[in-house]
Structures are given as structure tokens and as C-alpha cells.
């Protein structure tokens, strides 16, 4: 009775830098196609994601905040009515050092079969995390693919 997407990647960086890249708007804007993250980043805080024009894409609550190891977000889409109607999903980001790189695991799930939100993020996360890996390793994010 649930939908889940899991993505693992390995990035040559430190857990501290990666955690910063996942939570600071000046970083997310660079690799997430202009999208910025806003939150006080404390357990129980709200978080928001906005397009570069200011429209809100997703909102939720910080469920766990343990830098630079683990971040858990309650996550609802706000700009596509059919996704917003599904309510809150859960996104877990885990960072694990491995030599001079970091293993990043993103698990995005919802307590509902055939979730359209999980389907949408299954297409989105590989793009965003590929671009993040390029930014941290080369200094340049990927272009927004058509």
C-alpha cells in the first residue's frame, strides 16, 4: 500500500558540502534550475521550494535534521492540483562518507499505491541529482534538458 522511489549516487565531495548544497538556496538555484529552498532547518520548521519567479513548487515540514548525515522532509506538491490532492509524501536524504566521496541516498515515498507524485519525482530526482553531482565535481551544473 505504498509507492517509493529510491536513487543512489556517489559524489566526490564532503558530507558537509553536500548537505549545504541540498539545503542552501544559493546552491540549489545553481543545479535545480533556479529553484530555491527556504527553511529555518530545525525539526518542526516549515520548508518551501520556489521557482525562480517566486511561485511555490512544494512545501512541508522538517521531520528530521541531522547535518551532515540525514534530512527527512514531509513534502507536498503545490503547483500541480492532481499531485497536491495526494497530500504529503516523505523524502529521506542520507549522506554516508566513503573515502573521498559521499554516498547519497534519496528515498521519496507515499502511503498510497500508484502515487502520481512519486511518479513525478522519479523523473525529477535523477535530473536534479545528476546536475548536483556535476556542480560539486566540476563547478558547473548541467543545462536544463528539453
Amino acid at each position: 500500500m505504498s509507492s517509493q522511489f529510491v536513487y543512489v549516487t556517489y559524489i566526490r565531495t564532503t558530507p558537509e558540502k553536500l548537505f549545504e548544497a541540498l539545503t542552501k538556496p544559493e546552491f540549489t538555484r545553481q543545479y535545480w534550475y533556479g529553484i530555491s529552498m527556504e527553511s529555518a532547518w530545525r525539526v518542526g520548521s516549515e520548508w518551501k521550494m520556489r521557482f525562480s519567479d517566486g511561485r511555490i513548487t512544494d512545501t512541508g515540514e522538517v521531520l528530521e535534521y541531522d547535518p551532515p548525515k540525514r534530512l527527512v522532509l514531509k513534502w507536498r506538491n503545490e503547483f500541480r492540483p492532481e499531485l497536491k490532492a495526494e497530500g504529503f509524501s516523505r523524502c529521506v536524504m542520507e549522506l554516508e562518507p566513503a573515502g573521498d566521496m559521499v554516498k547519497l541516498t534519496v528515498s521519496h515515498s507515499m502511503e498510497r499505491d500508484g502515487s502520481k507524485l512519486v511518479e513525478a519525482v522519479s523523473g525529477g530526482w535523477p535530473k536534479v541529482l545528476s546536475s548536483l553531482k556535476s556542480l560539486l565535481e566540476t563547478g558547473k551544473a548541467l543545462p536544463e534538458g528539453k
Partner: protein
């Protein structure tokens, strides 16, 4: 074939370079921790993956070959006693150009035990491949990092 693992990554490169990186032994050795692939990559040909010391890792038949867009390989593990003879398995590589980058989709259909093994392996190999193509430097083998940590502990 009971189940499948799908992994998508985007790499700043051309389809031709990515095809070469996936099929040319000189390339795979660099990012796949010494592993190399051998085949003429024609449909119906045999292919083999070998460890750096020449031992066989995986063999099979080239089921489809459409460079630089699509490669489908029949896939039989040859070195892990638990996985040898674990039923049919197939890996597909789809390469799609998107402006200045390439979308690579790897789909591996296999029985549960082999599927578990390749589901852990592909993210490591493809992360190292992306680093190698974009920065000229592959990633270390995460398995070895874990072993080094245990030794140090």
C-alpha cells in the same frame, strides 16, 4: 524475468563518447575499477566482462546493437557461485541526446538475487563513469573504501 532495476543519469557528453565509454575496454578499465569488456558489439556476437586479472565476470550475447543509441545484452554472471545459473537476465542501455548532455537509462531485468546485486552495483559504476567523463577522474570503488575502513577500525 521477474523484476527490473532502472537507473537514469545525465552526463555532459555526446552519445558517441558515451557509447565508447560503455563498450571500449580501455575506457571501462578506467572507471570500472579494472574491469574490461570484450566483443565486436554486433548483434548475435558474444560479449564478456573480465576482471583486471583476466578472470571472467559476466558473459552473454549481444541481443541488440544500435550505436550510439541502444545496446541490449544477455547477461550471465560467471564468478559468483550464488548467481551462476540464476535464470535469464538482460541489461539494456538507452542513450538519448538532450542538447549538450546525454540521458543514459540502464534497465536490468533479472531474478531476485542477481537483481539485488546489480541494483547495488550500477549506481557505483555509473557514478564513476559520469565523474570520469566529466572530470577525467573516476571514483574509487566504494567496496574498497568500506574494506579500508574495516581494516583501519
Amino acid at each position: 524475468m521477474s523484476d527490473r532495476f532502472v537507473y537514469v543519469t545525465y552526463i555532459s557528453t555526446t552519445p558517441e563518447k558515451l557509447w565508447q565509454a560503455l563498450t571500449d575496454a580501455a575506457f571501462t578499465r578506467e572507471y570500472w575499477w579494472g574491469m574490461f569488456l570484450e566483443s565486436d558489439w554486433k548483434q548475435g556476437s558474444r560479449w564478456a566482462m573480465k576482471f583486471a586479472d583476466g578472470r571472467l565476470n559476466t558473459t552473454g550475447e549481444v541481443l541488440e546493437s544500435d550505436p550510439p543509441r541502444r545496446l541490449v545484452l544477455d547477461w550471465h554472471n560467471e564468478y559468483n557461485p550464488e548467481l551462476i545459473g540464476d535464470g535469464p537476465s538482460r541489461a539494456s542501455f538507452d542513450i538519448e541526446q538532450l542538447g549538450e548532455m546525454v540521458k543514459l537509462t540502464v534497465t536490468h531485468e533479472a531474478q531476485p538475487k542477481l537483481l539485488e546485486s546489480v541494483s547495488g552495483g550500477w549506481p557505483k559504476v555509473l557514478a564513476s563513469l559520469k565523474s570520469y567523463i566529466e572530470t577525467g577522474k573516476p571514483l574509487p570503488n566504494p567496496g574498497n573504501c568500506a574494506a579500508a575502513r574495516e581494516q583501519a577500525a
